[in-house]
């Protein structure tokens, strides 16, 4: 499940992070401390962290859009 959800998250991050989407996800997973056995709560913490990064790259409004999409992905996949 982790691989599938990670792939969907990376795809959703790609508009903002382009080629760096995969690296950005891995960096945030390390930062938040998420391993292979991640729970929904872990992923919710992860998307919060990604939101902050999105805000830095594209501002709060776009970050909020990405965040909403990521939350939907996490809810559907976990």
């Amino acid at each position: 499940m982790t691989g599938d959800i990670d792939g969907r998250i990376v795809d959703y991050m790609r508009p903002l992070f382009g080629e760096f989407a995969g690296s950005a996800l891995q960096q945030q997973k390390v930062k938040v401390g998420i391993g292979d056995e991640a729970t929904r709560a872990d992923y919710m913490r992860l998307v919060e962290s990604i939101r902050s990064m999105c805000a830095e790259v594209a501002g709060d409004i776009v970050a909020a859009k990405v965040y909403a999409g990521l939350v939907t992905i996490v809810r559907e996949a976990t």
């Binding site: 795809d11 959703y12 790609r14 508009p15 903002l16 992070f17 382009g18 080629e19 760096f20 995969g22 690296s23 950005a24 960096q27 830095e56 790259v57 594209a58 501002g59 709060d60 409004i61 776009v62 859009k65 999409g69």
Partner: protein, 244 residues
């Protein structure tokens, strides 16, 4: 900050610049789907003009855009825009994507160590359009892109890059820095102006201790346009050219 003005809609096949008196000089604006170079020497307001067009398109016509900045950070660019009366936080229709921050965080070589930056930009714009929708893309700047991409055959790679931009189905503005003060070379490889559908040239005329800005439409395909250079005025009410 420019305010919403009610003006009769011109051709729907054109992207208005909303630079006062300029659209009338090119049949109402830039043909939709064009790839346009915005050229000039340092300090000629290339980035500001490009963002202004996107901002006004959002404000007046509700078009979504992305502005990809490769060198200037988002906060720095936002502060600059504030000085000319534009507030990037006021609209979610124009997204400024700060790739300079990503470069600083992850390095220029990209995750695989050999990123093809021309394809990376095309891919990112395509994925943004697919997920969030956008009709205009701005890339700032070509010089920054060239510093990242390792060309084997510039002419061939740029041909495919420009064709890739056209395939996106959006109108594209490429900010291009001019370095030689003695010649009108619009971009580094001297082929970009042939590949582009349009060229807007911002010229700084320095005389007797004064600097004056001029804007010229050097090229615009599918358009009858003036070839004059017009004085450009930038103030709190926006951008304006002074017709002869």
């Amino acid at each position: 900050m420019p305010e919403l003005v009610q003006e009769p809609k011109m051709s729907s096949n054109r992207i208005r610049t909303w630079v006062q008196n300029l659209d009338e000089q090119m049949e109402g604006g830039i043909p939709k789907g064009s790839v346009v170079l915005v050229c000039g020497r340092p300090g000629s307001l290339k980035s500001s003009l490009t963002y202004y067009i996107m901002y006004m398109q959002a404000l007046q016509e509700g078009r979504r855009s992305i502005y990809l900045t490769l060198e200037q950070s988002r906060p720095s660019f936002s502060r600059h825009l504030a000085h000319i009366g534009l507030n990037p936080e006021a609209s979610d229709e124009v997204a400024i994507l700060d790739l300079s921050t990503l470069r600083k965080t992850f390095g220029d070589a990209g995750p695989k160590g050999d990123t093809n930056w021309l394809n990376a930009i095309l891919g990112q714009a395509a994925s943004y359009k697919q997920l969030f929708g956008c009709e205009i893309v701005g890339l700032d700047s070509m010089s920054a892109l060239y510093s990242l991409h390792e060309f084997q055959n510039p002419r061939r790679e740029l041909f495919h890059f420009f064709e890739g931009l056209r395939t996106l189905g959006v109108t594209v503005f490429l900010v291009s820095e001019m370095f030689d003060p003695t010649k009108d070379i619009f971009a580094r490889y001297e082929v970009e102006d042939f590949l582009a559908d349009g060229v807007l040239h911002l010229k700084v005329d320095r005389n007797n201790g004064q600097s004056n800005l001029y804007l010229g439409i050097v090229k615009m395909r599918e358009t009858r346009h003036s070839r004059d250079y017009f004085p450009l005025i930038v103030d709190a009410s926006g951008f304006e050219v002074v017709p002869h």
